[in-house]
């Protein structure tokens, strides 16, 4: 057998010996983007199904988290750029070949839309925060007063309320694109075999929607809504496990480069953090707790919700980090 005894190469800190161009900013954004996409999706979906009153938190309250998550995510994205002052170049062209380009445009449209939605439910937000957080209540109250002070903003909001169905449809389509984009962004890089699989799009979308479902069931006090989202989340976890299994089947059955990428998780440095941190603590344990809750055990909902959120974030950190380790080996 031909054995490699010694290799010497260059030494550039950002790239050698393993590529590390992307740090914590990208996975943190991918998590926030996926969470926002899920929240926007649920609010519009149940609004269009006419379940505004049956799912009050999902439709009226939780979507206020989405613009906050998106704005923080955008700040992280800006932090990640090395040539920051030129970020506007993203919006001088549309390049359909580049997922990052259409992702940037999607974000540019989703962000204003995600701000509009909670503005349509200021009264319900005030009610929700009335005895929970007086500072947020006062901010919302001030915002409502500001809108009512001017005829223009008042009539604009009225017009938006009349056309809420159109907004909801746009939201559904754009949120799915945003959720898929967080995965496709990574799939587009054929130089990183771990990422270079089409399953990342649906996988990141499912995981993002799952974190949103966890957020909603954490926020709600309504028994029906909590049970409903517990069940939805169980389904999403099942789909996620299914997709993860398929991702590894595809990688291990693939070329040497993708098999080596899979081995990062099967005996390699990411084995423990992925199977214990992401799969066991972030998917299986919360799923077990939710099943116990549905059977009738009393379990504080915060525990499974928290586990799912942490698991979702960890999943993205692991994937971004490990992906940069995976590469083509040439002799």
């Amino acid at each position: 057998m031909k054995e490699r005894l010694f290799t010497s190469g260059r030494n550039m800190l950002d790239i050698d010996p393993v590529l590390h161009a992307w740090h914590w900013e990208i996975p943190a954004y991918l998590f926030l983007g996926g969470l926002a996409a899920g929240l926007v999706f649920f609010s519009s979906f149940y609004y269009l199904r006419g379940k505004e009153d049956k799912m009050p938190i999902a439709v009226k309250v939780a979507p206020f988290v989405a613009p906050i998550a998106i704005i923080i995510g955008l700040i992280f994205l800006l932090l990640d750029l090395k040539h920051k002052l030129y970020f506007w170049q993203l919006y001088t062209t549309i390049r359909l070949d580049s997922p990052m380009s259409w992702g940037a445009w999607t974000l540019g449209i989703v962000m204003p839309l995600s701000i509009i939605w909670p503005l349509l439910y200021l009264d319900d937000l005030k009610k929700y925060f009335w005895n929970k957080n007086i500072i947020i209540y006062e901010i919302i109250d001030w915002l409502e007063g500001l809108i009512n002070d001017f005829d223009f903003t008042k009539s604009l909001l009225g017009w938006l309320k009349e056309n809420q169905k159109v907004i909801a449809w746009a939201n559904i389509i754009l949120s799915v694109i945003l959720g898929v984009y967080t995965g496709i962004l990574l799939s587009a890089f054929n130089a990183r075999p771990l990422w270079n699989t089409a399953i990342l799009g649906p996988l990141f979308l499912t995981s993002g929607i799952s974190t949103a479902a966890a957020t909603i069931m954490w926020m709600t006090n309504d028994h029906y809504e909590r049970i409903r989202f517990s069940r939805i989340d169980l389904w999403l976890i099942a789909v996620e496990l299914f997709l993860i299994t398929h991702m590894f089947m595809g990688l291990t059955a693939g070329t040497q480069a993708s098999a080596e990428a899979a081995s990062l998780f099967m005996g390699g440095p990411y084995t423990a953090v992925f199977w214990i941190g992401v799969v066991a603590m972030g998917l299986l344990l919360p799923a077990t707790l939710e099943i116990m809750e549905l059977i009738g055990f009393k379990i504080p909902i915060a525990i499974p919700a928290f586990l799912i959120l942490v698991g979702g974030a960890l999943f993205r950190f692991v994937m971004v980090d490990a992906g940069q380790l995976s590469r083509y080996f040439f002799q």
Partner: protein
């Protein structure tokens, strides 16, 4: 026109003159390089095989870096040379992630930098800095579409390989073996 480079692994002694010439010619900041030397020792003692390569951007035919660039800063110019417009680059790193050869890096000023096949010298009818200084003439730069060019003749007569062909980028750096 299709510019490419041939690198004779049997002639290279790893002196790194090409690296220094490039750094000087292109004002590459300290601690960075656009081309570099790789040394591999294979085999089982005493049957050892040493290969030294001078590597750089492969100026691929099918360019993942240009495809994933969100602003169009990465682009291909006449002759298939892959370049970056500094004023359009936002420093997102997408091209760095998409390159199987890790041929790109963040310039300390923020934009992404890489080998340009010394297009400013080539446009003036000269050859690249690395080729011009190579003491063993291991490097050959030229036009593959010209069947009379030195590189076309080399590739017609010698055995060669390209790196990570399976990445599907159709690299244009040929290593004569």
């Amino acid at each position: 026109m299709r510019y490419a480079m041939a690198m004779d692994t049997s002639l290279c002694v790893g002196c790194a003159d090409c690296v220094v010439a490039c750094q000087t010619e292109n004002n590459v900041p300290e601690g960075y390089c656009r081309d570099w030397i790789v040394e591999n020792v294979d085999g089982t003692y005493p049957l050892l095989d040493l290969e030294i390569r001078s590597e750089r951007c492969n100026h691929c035919e099918d360019t993942p870096c240009v495809r994933t660039c969100p602003t169009g800063a990465s682009h291909v110019i006449e002759g298939g040379i892959v370049k970056v417009t500094h004023e359009e680059c936002i420093g997102c790193g997408a091209c760095i992630e998409s390159c199987p050869y890790d041929a790109r890096y963040f310039h300390p000023d923020g934009y992404v930098d890489k080998c340009t096949f010394c297009d400013h010298r080539v446009a003036a009818g000269d050859t690249t800095a690395c080729v011009s200084v190579c003491p063993t003439h291991a490097l050959t730069f030229g036009d593959l579409h010209d069947s009379e060019s030195e590189i076309s003749k080399l590739l017609a007569t010698r055995k060669y390989k390209v790196l990570a062909e399976e990445a599907g980028t159709k690299p244009q750096l040929y290593f004569l073996t």
